[in-house]
């Protein structure tokens, strides 16, 4: 009994020291990590809307009605003169766990661009969705997220029909397409309900 108690105490001490050191490292790195992900997000926003000058947080007014897909943040992106469109940071699950995408929707209800923020799928297969050197259309050098630019929400968004799949990664292709479709529809709906004049 006494021996067992000693073992428990030793184990507890190691666990406590381990936790404490993790807490210290976490508190040091927390703000830097948040800053990095904020930087990555605004860089992606700038890529989708090159004229973006400012963005307004509209996260509270956009919600997902598709099971398994969450909208973490949403922005109304504006140039110096006028609104450009809506961008939604959406999270859904793909083959290897959560995937985070940033989907931009222009005022004319077509997708301005898609960026993959986080994806944990198989290296060399599903992970090609975030590889800027992997082209689903080699002749025209179009990447998997790149092919969505210019698509209208009235399109069917079906893998292997109007969406080119990543070779041998049907699950990833379908999962990402689903997230993009849900985000695009929500963004279009938001634009519909807003007072902003549509492009057509």
């Amino acid at each position: 009994m006494k021996g067992n108690l000693r073992l428990g105490v030793v184990l507890a001490v190691f666990a406590a020291v381990g936790c404490a050191s993790l807490a210290v490292v976490y508190s040091i790195t927390e703000s830097a990590i948040a800053a990095q992900s904020q930087k990555a997000l605004s860089a992606s926003l700038q890529e989708i809307f090159p004229d973006a000058a400012s963005s307004e947080d509209i996260s509270s007014t956009v919600s997902s009605n598709v099971a398994g897909i969450k909208f973490e943040q949403a922005f109304l992106v504006k140039s110096a003169l006028a609104p450009l469109g809506v961008a939604i940071k959406a999270q859904g699950s793909s083959y290897g766990g959560p995937a985070r995408l940033l989907v931009g929707m222009s005022l004319n209800r077509s997708i301005a661009g898609v960026r993959v923020l986080e994806l944990n799928d198989t290296a060399g297969l599903g992970a090609n969705a975030k590889n800027p050197g992997y082209f689903v259309n080699k002749a025209e050098k179009i990447t998997f997220p790149g092919q969505f630019a210019g698509k209208f929400i009235t399109d069917p968004f079906e893998v292997k029909k109007d969406v080119a799949a990543i070779t041998a990664s049907t699950i990833t292709s379908k999962a990402l397409t689903g997230i993009i479709k849900a985000s695009a529809e929500a963004a279009a709906l938001w634009l519909e309900n807003s007072t902003l004049a549509g492009g057509n």
């Binding site: 030793v10 050191s21 993790l22 790195t29 990095q36 990555a40 290296a123 992970a127």
Partner: protein, 207 residues
């Protein structure tokens, strides 16, 4: 010094963790579809192995043997998380390309195996040399397998196109069955190398 060198050398061919000890195979097959991942995983694993071995060797007298496994796991898990957090905070690019593999290190049997079989019974210096040897042994195999699979399966090396554009990539090599095949070839290559080295060492001794 000579014995430390010998400890270091063991991990590369004679006791190569992947090809001779046959541990840590799952992560090795998963990440070897391209060379950059192989290098990244090798370095991250070596780093965690090094610090886990140092710590466990330092505290080996304070760790009761009946609860050593959970304590090893706490130490390995803590270092892995630290690596993950530090990379996310200060090397976001690296973390983006390797983020998937970092949590895998916790369950990498090489670390558990070496900590249990080596660091727990040895002083700090041999433990350091063992972790470098094992780390190098792990990394060269990963990079070798990854190069083979990436060049044949995707026509690229570390992302750069090396095969002519007309080359039709053999997708088989990127998929898991191809990984097993190439892995088997590397095992035979290692056994052949080991036999040759043993023979030449024996020849030297008798001469």
């Amino acid at each position: 010094m000579k014995s430390l060198w010998k400890v270091f050398k063991q991990g590369i061919i004679f006791e190569n963790p992947l090809l001779m000890l046959m541990i840590g195979l799952c992560s090795a097959l998963a990440v070897t579809s391209n060379v950059s991942n192989g290098i990244g995983m090798g370095l991250a694993m070596t780093f965690v192995l090094l610090f886990s071995e140092i710590f466990i060797s330092l505290f080996r007298k304070a760790i009761p043997s009946s609860v050593r496994m959970p304590i090893f796991l706490i130490i390995i898990g803590a270092f892995t998380t630290i690596v993950d957090l530090v990379m996310k905070a200060y090397f976001p690019e690296l973390s983006k390309s390797m983020g998937v593999f970092i949590p895998l290190i916790v369950v990498n049997c090489i670390i558990m195996g070496r900590v249990e079989a080596f660091a727990y019974k040895q002083k700090v210096m041999p433990a350091i040399f063992d972790s470098f040897g094992m780390g190098l042994g792990y990394t060269w195999v990963l990079v070798g397998i990854a190069a083979f699979r990436e060049i044949l399966g995707n026509g690229t090396f570390a992302g750069m196109q090396v095969m002519p554009q007309s080359y039709q990539p053999i997708l088989f090599f990127i998929l898991p069955p191809g990984g097993f095949l190439v892995f088997g070839l590397f095992i035979s290559l290692n056994i052949w190398l080991k036999d040759r080295m043993q023979k030449s060492a024996a020849a030297k001794e008798s001469a």
